[in-house]
Amino acid sequence: MTKGWKLYDQRLAWILVAPVLLLLILLLLLPIAMMTVYTFFTFVTAGVESAVLTFDNWKEFLTDSYYHGFLWKTVRVGAITAVICAILGYFPAYFIWATTFRHKWLLLLLLIVPFWISFTIRTFSWIHILGEQGLINVVLIRLGVISEPLPMLYTEGAVIMGLLHFLLPYMILNVYVSLESIDRTLIAAARSMGCTSAQAFREVTLPLSMPGLGAGLLLCFVLAAGSYVTPQLLGGSRDALFGNLIYDTIMGQLNWPMGATLSIVLFVLLGAAAAAYSRYMGLSQIMKGLSA
């Protein structure tokens, strides 16, 4: 079959990569290109649009504060979630890295286990903690601390809680991978030169773990800002994020041109975040994190 071909012939490489490339072009690049074209189509009525090109969708998006509200809320929730993840996630990552506990693998395994549990189940489980019949309210009422259940579910706080629950393992693993690559003798050296442990952490460990922290922040922001299920299950009607807006515009109102416009907006927003990040850090850290 390959007589007369060089050992690592380019033709063979193209044959091997062709199905994946075809798939990515047909299911990823072409759809994004078509969505971009769709943003200039005219909405006629639910489910019907015409190919008359117009800027109306973009005008509507740029002038209507309804959309700006969603955009701002999505960015805010994404950023808050990512930052809390970074703060809360750094401690466990550091602990696992530094501990002398012999069964370290168990701690790591426990971080991977949530990835196996259905995301929908993990999310709705929070209803049992935060809801009116949830653990916190039932316990507080029994103890007589409160007489009426606290309204914790269906709030922005609940959405952020659910997102944290989903994203913390990503953050912890990213930081951990980064910590693992630090040469430990550097820290011993800093200490023997008279650094306090706090100084050694601030001057050596923390800066060297920044790539993992950065990758974790980006990943958490992108995944939080693109989420759909969490706000759907844990948020009230006012806590919907951009993903929910897109879903309603397309599946509810059947306004495809506007839905495409909103999708492209979200795509550009998250793409800009990723581009800004890769300028400073490079994408290789993300790949490490994803395959960890």
């Binding site: 990515l24 759809p31 078509m34 809360l88 990835f115 929908t120 809801g131 442990s197 693109g226």
Partner: protein, 273 residues
């Protein structure tokens, strides 16, 4: 700060780190444990307080036709997705690791994209495309979509393993006259097996678990397991949903754990000889 001679400050920092770590782990598992516990609750309602032990919600589950249908649908989709994605992923990883060709870097980045682009956008994209060619949503579309979603992970896993396999093994076989296909079958594939198994498992779980994109892609009237759970939750948190959740947790956590343990004991067994 666990250095050789921790100072006072360091000891306190270390204790704080331990305490926060414990809290994070509790945070990660408390809701899941609550769901499992509540699935055995006798109460008519899905929440606390606990009123007694009962298995009736599990019995009810076994006769719930929509749930069983959704389970079968998801199983099928996940099996097909895992098989096809792993095959395609191995081919692509082989090309991306072993060969040098123009555009390799671009393809490398392109392959990762589906993992970074939000599912809602991928969801809308495919729908816009089939709308443009005037096709209805079909099972084929749903499976193709799942292949797209799982591809980045499979390629990354196989690539990582492939980098660790010395190409001189393959080159030795080839230079001794083995055809390329048998070289792959006899040399490369056996060394790749751990990555192949990991890919199949991961692709299966991602597909089985996918919610947001499936909501866009599923044909009218078809429910996958997660979308079925979502529509059950729209009505109320019934104890039945808790039971369903618990069954799913046992399946998705139990199977990989059992697989891992079997692999472990096999290697111990071999080493023991």
């Amino acid at each position: 700060m666990r250095a050789d001679h921790p100072d006072r400050e360091g000891r306190w920092a270390w204790r704080l780190t331990g305490a926060i770590t414990l809290c994070v782990y509790v945070f990660m598992f408390a809701p899941i444990i609550a769901t499992v516990v509540l699935s055995f609750n006798a109460s008519m309602f899905g929440g606390f307080p606990l009123t007694g032990f009962s298995l009736r919600w599990y019995e009810k589950l076994l006769t719930n036709e929509p749930v069983l249908d959704a389970f079968r649908t998801s199983m099928w989709i996940a099996l097909v997705t895992a098989t096809v994605t792993t095959l395609l992923g191995i081919m692509a990883a082989l090309a991306l690791v072993r060969f040098e060709f123009r555009g390799k870097q671009a393809i490398n980045t392109l392959v990762i994209l589906p993992a970074l682009v939000p599912e809602t956008i991928l969801g809308v994209g495919l729908l816009v495309m089939i709308k443009a060619v005037d096709q209805p949503r079909s099972m084929a579309l749903l499976v193709l979509g799942h292949i797209l979603l799982t591809l980045p992970y499979v390629v990354l896993i196989v690539q990582a393993r492939m980098v660790g396999i010395k190409r001189s093994y393959e080159e030795a076989a080839l230079s001794l006259g083995a055809p390329r296909v048998s070289t792959f079958r006899e040399i490369t594939l056996p060394l790749l097996i751990p990555a192949v198994l990991a890919s199949i498992l991961l692709a299966f779980t991602i597909s089985f678990d996918n919610t947001s994109a499936s909501l866009f892609w599923r044909p009218a009237g078809v429910e996958t397991m997660p979308t079925q759970i979502l529509s059950m939750l729209k009505i109320s948190i019934s104890p039945e949903v808790n039971a369903l959740g618990t069954v799913m947790i046992l399946l998705t956590v139990g199977i990989p754990l059992a697989g891992g343990l079997i692999l472990q004991s096999l290697t111990w067994f071999k080493a023991g000889k």
